[in-house]
């Protein structure tokens, strides 16, 4: 059975701005999916409609067999703990230390009182340390998170998502603010997580070459609609052109440049 299913999902902000229209996707456990498309195509909205950070207007979202759009607040909180989220600008609490930020990932499992008091079990703390070691941040553990580089911050973001013990990761442009080197490290970690832990990963990307390189499946979004859904090997230049519309030529220049850096 599919882990996540979107059925006729739509989001409209007002009469004239339609962010998403009739999105149908079925996602299996362990898939690594890249969502590509030009800015403003609705990639971010799509990702945020899945965990109801943005409330969809119409349609259905079924996650792990539960109809996500018709659950109560408390149940929604419980389901969100199973969905980790990673952001372009990391979204860490800058004035807190790295390990505190990682432990924030456990707050969803706690009652309001225990969560508010910030009481974490020994096991949770050990898990946080272990995750930070795995992500190569053992030396940064007790540093304030605004002292880290962009790539390191994003790894803290990944640790915070993983400590949730998620079934799925939603990554909103995780490498858009990073240099090519740090980008590669982050994408490698995401791939490793997907393969070794069997976690489903959905990544919004604007770098087509990165999407083609890492994903098992590409979803092309343009003007709020899915225009491609298939494997990266089957996608043709023409289809990429269709996804990006008239920006295509600029994009090719960018792609060639990035290849040059990578080489």
């Amino acid at each position: 059975m599919a882990l996540l299913e979107l059925f006729n999902l739509s989001k409209r902000y007002d009469q004239h701005t339609i962010a998403l229209s009739d999105i149908n996707i079925s996602v299996n456990k362990g898939e690594f999916i890249a969502v590509i498309g030009p800015s403003g195509a609705g990639k971010s909205t799509l990702l945020r409609c899945i965990n109801r950070m943005i409330e969809p207007t119409n349609g259905e979202v079924t996650f792990d067999g539960v109809d996500l759009l018709h659950v109560k607040r408390k149940e929604l909180r419980r389901l969100r703990t199973k969905i980790g989220m990673i952001f372009q600008h990391y979204h860490l609490v800058n004035r807190l230390t790295v390990i505190e930020n990682v432990l924030h990932g456990r707050l969803g499992y706690k009652s309001s009182v225990v969560g508010a008091l910030g009481i974490y079990t020994k096991k949770e703390k050990e898990q946080a340390i272990q995750l930070l070691r795995m992500l190569g941040l053992a030396d940064q553990m007790y540093k304030r998170s605004d002292k880290l580089s962009g790539g390191q911050k994003q790894r803290v973001g990944i640790a915070r998502a993983l400590i949730q013990d998620p079934k799925m990761l939603l990554c909103d442009e995780p490498i858009a603010s990073l240099d090519p080197n740090a980008s590669k490290i982050i994408m490698d970690y995401l791939q490793k997580i997907s393969q070794s832990l069997g976690i489903t990963v959905i990544v919004n990307l604007h770098q087509v070459d990165v999407a083609l390189q890492y994903s098992d499946r590409i979803i092309g979004v343009s003007q709020g609609q899915i225009v491609y859904d298939g494997t990266p090997t089957d996608i043709t230049q023409e289809q990429i052109h269709q996804i990006y519309g008239s920006d295509f030529d600029d994009l090719m220049v960018e792609m060639n440049k990035e290849k040059h850096y990578a080489g």
């Binding site: 909180r77 703990t81 989220m85 979204h91 609490v93 969803g108 910030g118 939603l170």
Partner: protein, 261 residues
């Protein structure tokens, strides 16, 4: 076209300047203000100040009494600002768009804050004078209300500015509302809020003097007393004491700001 653009811009600046000049000139005409006499009386005012407005050895006898009043005023200013900041924090969390429970509530919170802020501290003390009479409570509540209104506004802006991203991340993990506020909103905005609180304390000490004159309490009353009894020497000592207190407090709060940021 470029040339035209800069010409237009310069013309606009010139028009604004001409407008200001004409308003000033109109004001002078209406109030029959004599500009030359106005400026020429400044040296006279200074010479009066130098010859009359300075502390003498006699006036230092009143120093203990002045210091007690001053101390009372400082404590009052700090007390009103800190208590106001607690209330302001609560209202700011409910009033900020990032953390509000519902938009209707937020509007009410912001409206209350605006109301308290926009009534001047002098007006508050005149209103409260009827309820509390000539006591320290009048001044305390006047300062409290204005601090509350101002700090709520400042805190709302702080929260909106710094905690958006952390709030989104924690909501996505499934954290409860209270956890989000305590683990994301407060840590991100605490230092800026403390900075606003220090600013409020400084402002309160300045306004406390004026309130004292109006309500007959604290250091303002002491100043008023000597000033009206034509004891300018002692009155000047009061002013000097206030200035020193404000400077010391400003230095202290600057130090705290440096440490916490």
């Amino acid at each position: 076209m470029q040339v035209n653009f800069f010409f237009k811009k310069r013309l606009r600046a010139l028009l604004v300047f001409a407008f200001l000049v004409s308003v000033t000139y109109g004001g002078i005409m209406i109030t029959e203000y004599d500009v030359i006499k106005g400026f020429s009386s400044i040296p006279m005012a200074i010479s009066w100040g130098v010859t009359n407005f300075f502390p003498t050895t006699d006036s230092f006898e009143h120093l203990p009494k002045i210091l007690i009043s001053l101390w009372e005023t400082i404590l009052l200013s700090i007390g009103s600002a800190t208590l106001a900041s607690l209330f302001a924090l609560f209202f700011a969390i409910l009033g900020s768009n990032t953390t509000t429970i519902n938009p209707f509530f937020a509007t009410i919170c912001r409206f209350i804050a605006t109301l308290f802020r926009n009534i001047d501290v002098a007006v508050w003390s005149m209103i409260l004078l009827f309820s509390f009479g000539q006591s320290a409570l009048t001044g305390y509540f006047a300062l409290f209300f204005v601090s509350f209104g101002f700090l709520t506004r400042a805190f709302i802006e702080t929260i909106d500015e710094v905690s958006n991203s952390g709030v989104e991340a924690l909501r996505a993990t499934g954290a409860s509302y209270i956890s989000i506020v305590i683990h994301s909103v407060i840590p991100s905005s605490a230092s800026q809020m403390l900075s606003w609180l220090l600013f409020m304390i400084e402002t309160n000490i300045r306004s406390a003097t004026l309130i004292g004159i109006l309500t007959g309490t604290g250091i303002g009353f002491v100043f008023d007393l000597y000033y009206k009894s034509v004891d300018y020497n002692t009155a000047s000592l009061v002013v000097i004491a206030i200035v020193i207190a404000i400077l010391a407090l400003e230095a202290a709060s600057n130090y705290v700001r440096r440490v916490i940021i």
